[in-house]
């Protein structure tokens, strides 16, 4: 494809780091974009607050009223949006590299549906909210991941097969989900349905901590082991020849990616398509054939904050879940992907 890209190489005692300047620039721009939209989200709402006041409040020198609006009402939601977007982007990037498939994102292999089932069981059968719902989601996600792994990899995996299996498992879980909703009271059912679409409405500091800790622990791990992804993409034998601990890297990466997806879903519900679309979009912007994990995370954060802004301002109704926006955009993106592939560019 392209010719040799420029690289910056940093070497020090015991480490060596290669950076693609364009990827770095794209990553920084995406982070800035995400933060910019986040700032806009902080200023707008039922009660508009000027940018200056928001910044002053964030710096700790605002008045009590602004502080309340910023810290209690808007900042948790904005942070959750940023962090969930980043977690989904990173998770999608790792999954797509591991499965060597642009469709191998957590929402396609049924992980988010599994997390949703876990959460719904807690919400509608066991009863409970907040942390218990999150725990249910994480548990559901992990169980689904193990099941799919056992189903898909026993006889050697083929990329598309994993996706199809995921679709089958998702269909099964979605049937269970709609049954759970069907058998419950209207108000509970409505709350559950909104959760199922994926929403960041009314998220507080607890959720920020959940997804923040998940991201803080797993993102460095994923980035550290992510350097092996390019070698793994060449095939197991090639990777072994280059000194990559194949089994360990793959297991750790897969587990961490499942964890990221689970943390994100536990916080905001199964938000569709961010994990699918963020990595390739970031790769396209940075003109690199493979997807960096960090640019993908930045792209995820930017996409989700922008989506949240659109959910609040473009669509009618005050509490439209952000999942509606991402699902619509993601479907369009996937359609475009299929069209492009149909044209035979691959």
């Amino acid at each position: 494809m392209s010719t040799v890209t420029k690289r910056i190489v940093l070497r020090g005692a015991g480490f060596s780091l290669r950076l693609h300047p364009r990827a770095v620039v794209v990553g920084v721009v995406l982070v800035l974009a995400a933060l910019g939209v986040a700032l806009v989200n902080l200023t707008t709402g039922d009660f508009p607050v000027p940018v200056g006041d928001v910044l002053r409040s964030l710096a700790g020198r605002g008045d009590a009223g602004t502080d309340f609006i910023v810290y209690e009402l808007r900042l948790p939601r904005v942070l959750v949006t940023l962090l969930v977007g980043a977690a989904l982007g990173a998770s999608g990037s790792v999954f797509q590299s591991l499965t060597r498939n642009p469709l191998g994102s957590p929402d396609f292999v049924g992980l988010t549906a599994g997390a949703a089932t876990g959460a719904l069981v807690v919400m509608l059968i066991l009863g409970g909210g907040g942390l218990r719902v999150s725990a249910g989601a994480v548990l559901g996600c992990v169980i689904t991941a193990v099941t799919i792994y056992l189903l898909a990899f026993r006889r050697g995996s083929q990329p598309f097969r994993l996706v199809l299996l995921g679709i089958g498992v998702s269909a099964l879980l979605e049937a269970a989900n709609s049954y759970l909703i069907y058998r419950s009271q209207l108000n509970e059912a409505l709350a559950a349905q909104v959760w199922l679409i994926g929403s960041v409405n009314g998220r507080g500091w607890t959720e920020v901590v959940i997804v923040g800790v998940t991201l803080g622990v797993l993102l460095p791990l994923v980035v550290y082991y992510g350097r092996h992804l390019k070698m793994l993409a060449l095939g197991d034998e090639m990777a072994v020849l280059h000194g990559v601990p194949v089994e360990r890297s793959r297991a750790i990466l897969a587990l961490a990616a499942v964890g990221l997806a689970a943390g994100a879903t536990a916080t905001a519900g199964p938000i569709a398509f961010v994990a699918l679309a963020a990595p390739p979009l970031a790769a396209r912007l940075s003109r690199s054939p493979s997807t960096g994990i960090l640019p993908a995370a930045a792209m995820g954060a930017a996409l989700l904050t922008a989506g949240d802004w659109a959910a609040q301002h473009v669509l009618p109704g005050n509490d439209m879940p952000v999942g509606v926006i991402t699902a619509a955009l993601g479907g369009v993106y996937l359609t475009w992907l299929l069209f492009r592939e149909r044209g035979g560019t691959r």
Binding site: V169, S178, R342
Partner: protein
């Protein structure tokens, strides 16, 4: 059409033909199974009624509670199950033949959801409130989605089963987003929707069933007559053309049949997944690749499977009941997974 059918006499399969005796025996067994399931569907329910009573009130409508239950609840429900089962089985068969994709299915390819999206939009924004009104919107939605999925997933140079399923998933996603947005905005529509979305035969009004039935009947007849044409198409467009068939016309007729069947079935019972996948699969196991036989089997096996799932749903968690869509998903998804796990996904 007459010209086309007259020329197409050569059997399409090159494999040794299955003995027609086996096909007839299987067909008879299917009919018996269907009769048994229909009987079960009338006899079994959350309220236990003795068999002799059921038999008696079936022929003598005497206004007793048992008679009311049998005539106003169980008979329409059974009729609906037969119609929807035949429709979905046939729709699956026709879609698989048109796309040459063993995974094609109204639910997975998003056609059912296309129908339901149109219905939801009609309820919420156009104020349509009668079942007769829904049906037309369901047809429109099913027609648009099936055409779009075929074009996107099948029209290219390398149509593959996987790509079609993915095209379906991407449509499902966009359509689902539209439905969700509407439902969040209109809470009152949500309550109706969640009972319908799960795919169920209970609490359907008899009037609705009667209004949908003619459309289903036309679709069933149209699909049943397509056997020879689908056989021709299964040889590839060029061979089919050289034998005098017209691939474009066959596709148009096929999509028309799928539209009638899916639109009608979805309007009546909500989206039901996997039946359209399982029925042609089972039929092919018995009869091989002749579509005339597969279609005939679909008409019998579809209702039998769907009613069996419905009865199972009534029995499993009695006195409550599992919606039939949930039962079919739990029975059908493992089949789908097993199909996907086979070493090679053969293209039909």
């Amino acid at each position: 059409m007459i010209q086309a059918t007259a020329v197409l006499t050569a059997p399409p399969d090159t494999r040794p033909r299955r003995s027609s005796k086996r096909r007839w025996i299987g067909f008879a067994a299917g009919l018996v199974a269907l009769a048994v399931v229909v009987a079960l569907s009338i006899a079994v329910g959350s309220r236990t009624i003795g068999l002799s009573t059921v038999w008696h009130v079936l022929w003598h409508e005497d206004g007793s509670p048992a008679s009311v239950i049998v005539h106003q609840l169980r008979l329409p429900r059974t009729l609906l199950g037969v119609g929807v089962g035949a429709a979905l089985g046939l729709a699956g068969t026709v879609m698989q033949a048109l796309t040459r994709n063993p995974l094609a299915e109204p639910g997975l390819l998003g056609v059912s959801l296309g129908a339901s999206t149109a219905v939801v939009l009609a309820i919420a924004f156009l104020g349509v409130s009668t079942a007769t009104g829904y049906v037309w919107f369901a047809f429109a939605g099913a027609a648009i989605t099936s055409a779009a999925v075929f074009i996107l997933g099948g029209g290219g140079r390398h149509p593959t089963p996987e790509r079609q399923v993915l095209a379906g998933v991407s449509f499902t996603s966009v359509l689902g987003a539209i439905v969700w947005a509407v439902l969040v905005l209109r809470r009152e529509a949500f309550d109706r929707y969640r009972h319908w979305d799960v795919g169920s035969f209970s609490d359907r009004e008899t009037a609705t069933i009667l209004q949908v039935m003619p459309f289903l009947a036309v679709g069933i007849v149209l699909a049943s007559l397509l056997g020879r044409q689908l056989n021709a198409l299964s040889m590839g467009d060029e061979s089919a053309t050289s034998l005098g068939a017209r691939p474009v016309r066959i596709r148009v007729l096929g999509i028309l049949a799928v539209t009638l069947l899916c639109g009608g079935a979805t309007a009546a019972s909500g989206p039901i997944f996997f039946l359209g996948l399982a029925v042609p699969y089972a039929a092919r196991l018995i009869v091989g690749s002749d579509h005339r036989w597969i279609l005939a089997y679909s008409v019998v096996l579809g209702p039998a499977l769907l009613l069996a799932a419905d009865v199972l749903g009534r029995v499993l968690v009695a006195p409550a009941e599992l919606p039939v869509g949930v039962v079919t998903a739990f029975l059908g998804a493992p089949l789908f997974i097993a199909l996907c796990r086979r070493r090679r996904l053969s293209v039909l």
